[in-house]
C-alpha cells in the first residue's frame, strides 16, 4: 500500500462517531450537511478547517458505539486520508476497512494539530518528522491491505467475486 502523508487533525478519547458524524442523532440531515458540521461540538470549526488529505489523529476507542458505516462515507466526503488512534470501536474499525478508509492502531501521544504525519500501512510505521516521532506497530494484515487497496469491500468483490484475498495480498 502507498504511504499516506498529511496534516494531523486531533480529536480526543472515546469519540462517538454516531453522535458527531452520522445521521443517527442528526435525523433528516444528509451526508453533505453532516460533513460540514462533523465533530463541531468536540472541536469548534473542525470540519471547516479540514483540508482534503488531512489525517484524523485521535485518542483511544475512536468510533466507539458507532455502528453506522454512513459515518465513514461522511469522512470520505470530508477528505479524511486515514485515521490513527491507539484503539477503535470494533464496528467502526470494520466499517472503515469495508469502505476503504485506512485505520492504524498506534499510540498518538505527542502529536499535535497541524503536525505533518506520515503513515506506511505496509510496514506499520508512523512518523512525525518535525517532532522526531517514529513509531512502529504491527502492519495491517495482508487481507485488510487488499480490501483497502481495492477501495473497500464492494469494489473488491466487484473485481474478485471469488474472495481471493490471499493471492491478492501476496
Amino acid at each position: 500500500m502507498n504511504i499516506i502523508k498529511g496534516g494531523a487533525r486531533v480529536l480526543g478519547d472515546d469519540v462517538s462517531t454516531d453522535i458527531h458524524c452520522s445521521s443517527k442523532y442528526l435525523p433528516g440531515k444528509n451526508t453533505e450537511q453532516i460533513a460540514a458540521v462533523a465533530y463541531e461540538q468536540l472541536v469548534p470549526g473542525f470540519a471547516q478547517g479540514f483540508v482534503k488529505g488531512d489525517l484524523i489523529v485521535a485518542g483511544r476507542n475512536f468510533g466507539i458505539n458507532s455502528s453506522r458505516e454512513q459515518a465513514v462515507h461522511i469522512m470520505h466526503r470530508m477528505g479524511v486520508a486515514a485515521i490513527v488512534a491507539p484503539s477503535f470501536g470494533r464496528q467502526f474499525f470494520r466499517n472503515a476497512i469495508n469502505n476503504g478508509l485506512t485505520v492504524i492502531e498506534c499510540d498518538t501521544a505527542g502529536i499535535s494539530a497541524g503536525d505533518v504525519i506520515e503513515i506506511d500501512p505496509s510496514s506499520g510505521r508512523v512518523t512525525v518528522a518535525a517532532r522526531g516521532i517514529t513509531r512502529t506497530v504491527p502492519p495491517l494484515p495482508a487481507a485488510v491491505q487488499a480490501l483497502l487497496a481495492a477501495g473497500g469491500l464492494i469494489p473488491f468483490l466487484q473485481q474478485h467475486p471469488d474472495w481471493n484475498l490471499k493471492e491478492l495480498a501476496a
Binding site: I64, N95, A142
Partner: protein, 427 residues
C-alpha cells in the same frame, strides 16, 4: 495449544481446522439478518454492489422491529421497500409486531449450534446463547453475504468467564452482565469474544442465557458464546432448528483473561443514569425514586421476564405516580404471556402492554418516554443521556425483577424483599 469456541467456529467456516486469534479469515456465513433501522443503508449497498444474482438471499431475514409501528413516513416507506425486497427474493420476513430480530431469528429456527450468523445490529451477539458465533455487521457486509455467502472476519481473542453457582431467586443474568460492566467497563471487551461457562450458566434457563449473550454488546464484545447442553438442544429442537453441531473449547484453549464471578452470592445490580458501567448493588441504592418502569427489549423482554414481573405484581397495584410499560420481545412471547394470563395480572396492576418489537428501547422508535427530571428504571441495555428522547430524564437499568419490584414500591427495590420476587424460571 488448544482453541476457543470462536476460533473453532470461524476456522471451520473458513474451510479448515480451528483458526488462530488475530488471523483474518474468509468464512461461510450460515445466516444473516437486516432490520429496518439499517435496511435503508443495506438495500443501498446491495444496489451499489450490482450483483447479477444474490444466490444466498434466502438465508437473510428482513425484520421490521425498530419502527414497529413506524413513527414517520420515512420508516413506513422503508417497510414498503423491505417487503418488496423479501417478496422479490422470497427471503424470510418478520413484519411489524412479529418481534425483535434477536428473538425471532432463534424462534424461527434460523440458527443452530456451531453456526456463524451476522446481523446489522450490535446485539447480534445474542445467538451465542445457542453456541453460535453471532456478531454485528453493516449493510456492506450483508450485501457481500447475499452475493457470495461469505464474509471476512478477524478471529477474536477470547475472555473466559466462569459463573460459580446458581443465581439466587430474584437475581438474573442481567445482574451478572451489570457486574461484568462494573469490572471491565463499557467496551472493556472491545474486539474480543466472551465465553461464559460454569455451574451458574448450567443452572440458567434459555431466556436468561440469551440475556448473557445479548448484553455482552455493551462490553464491546464481538461475540459471547456458551457451550450447548441438554437445554440448548431441546430448545433448538422445539423451534425447528437444523441439526446442531455443538462446539466446545479445548481444555488448553488460550484466553486473554479468566474471570470468575461468584454468582451464588450475587445481589441484584443496577446501572445508574447515563452510564451503563456506573454500577451499584441494588441494596446500596434502594430508595431512589422512579416514575417510569419499562420491561422489554432484546435484552429482557422474554417470557421469564414477564412471568417474573407478573409474580411480583399479582393482585397488587403500581405505586402512585408510576407508569409501567411491558413490551414482549416477540409475537410468540406475547401469545404465551397472554395464554398464561400474565397480561391480565399486569394490566390490572396498572401497566400497559404494547405490541412486540423494540418498543421502549430507544427514541428512534418514536417514543418519548419521560418528562423532565423523571427517573426511568428499564430492563433495556443502554442508558446514555437522551436515549429515550429527553436528555433531562434519567434512565437506570436493572433486571425485570428489579423493574417490577421498583414499579410496585415507587423506589428502586431489591426484588428479594418483596413477595413474588423469589419466582424462579423452571430450569
Amino acid at each position: 495449544m488448544g482453541h476457543t469456541i470462536a476460533e473453532k467456529i470461524l476456522g471451520k467456516h473458513a474451510g479448515g481446522k480451528a483458526a488462530k486469534a488475530g488471523e483474518i479469515v474468509v468464512a461461510d456465513v450460515d445466516f444473516a439478518m437486516i432490520h429496518d433501522a439499517r435496511a435503508g443503508n443495506a438495500l443501498k449497498m446491495i444496489e451499489k454492489l450490482g450483483a447479477k444474482s444474490l444466490p444466498y438471499v434466502k438465508r437473510t431475514a428482513l425484520v421490521l422491529d425498530h419502527y414497529s409501528p413506524p413513527p414517520n413516513m420515512e420508516a413506513a416507506n422503508t417497510h414498503v421497500e423491505m417487503r418488496a425486497f423479501a417478496d422479490k427474493h422470497d427471503s424470510p420476513i418478520y413484519d411489524v409486531g412479529d418481534g425483535i430480530c434477536h428473538q425471532v431469528l432463534p424462534e424461527g429456527g434460523h440458527l443452530t449450534c456451531g453456526d456463524l450468523v451476522v446481523g446489522t445490529d450490535t446485539h447480534s451477539t445474542t445467538y451465542g446463547a445457542f453456541n453460535a458465533f453471532g456478531t454485528g455487521v453493516e449493510g456492506t457486509d450483508v450485501s457481500a453475504v447475499m452475493m457470495t455467502g461469505k464474509l471476512w472476519f478477524r478471529v477474536p481473542e477470547t475472555i473466559h468467564i466462569e459463573l460459580k453457582g446458581a443465581l439466587q431467586p430474584g437475581v438474573w443474568a442481567k445482574d451478572v452482565t451489570l457486574t461484568m460492566l462494573g469490572r471491565l467497563g463499557a467496551e472493556g471487551a472491545n474486539y474480543q469474544a466472551l465465553e461464559y461457562a460454569g455451574s451458574g450458566v448450567a443452572a440458567m434457563a434459555i431466556d436468561d442465557r440469551m440475556t448473557l449473550s445479548n448484553h455482552a454488546a455493551e462490553l464491546g464484545a464481538k461475540a459471547a458464546i456458551l457451550e450447548a447442553d441438554e437445554k440448548t438442544l431441546a430448545w433448538l429442537k422445539a423451534h425447528g432448528a437444523a441439526a446442531p453441531k455443538p462446539v466446545k473449547a479445548d481444555v488448553d484453549a488460550v484466553y486473554t483473561q479468566r474471570i470468575v464471578i461468584d454468582t451464588a452470592t450475587l445481589a441484584p445490580q443496577v446501572a445508574r443514569q447515563h452510564h451503563i458501567d456506573d454500577i451499584a448493588s441494588v441494596p446500596d441504592v434502594a430508595g431512589q425514586k422512579i416514575q417510569v418502569a419499562l420491561i422489554g427489549t432484546c435484552t429482557n423482554g422474554r417470557l421469564d421476564d414477564i412471568r417474573q414481573a407478573a409474580a411480583i405484581l399479582k393482585g397488587r397495584k403500581l405505586a402512585r405516580g408510576v407508569r409501567m410499560i411491558v413490551t414482549p420481545a416477540s409475537r410468540a412471547i406475547y401469545l404465551a404471556a397472554m395464554r398464561e394470563g400474565l397480561f391480565e395480572i399486569l394490566t390490572a396492576a396498572g401497566a400497559s402492554v404494547e405490541a412486540a418489537g423494540c418498543g421502549t428501547c430507544v427514541n428512534i422508535t418514536g417514543h418519548y418516554i419521560a418528562g423532565d427530571d423523571q427517573v426511568v428504571i428499564s430492563s433495556a441495555n443502554r442508558n446514555f443521556k437522551g436515549r429515550l428522547g429527553n436528555p433531562k430524564s434519567e434512565i437506570w437499568i436493572g433486571s425485570a425483577a428489579t423493574v417490577a419490584a421498583s414499579a410496585l414500591t415507587g423506589v428502586i427495590t431489591d426484588a428479594r424483599t418483596v413477595a413474588g420476587g423469589d419466582w424462579r424460571a423452571a430450569a
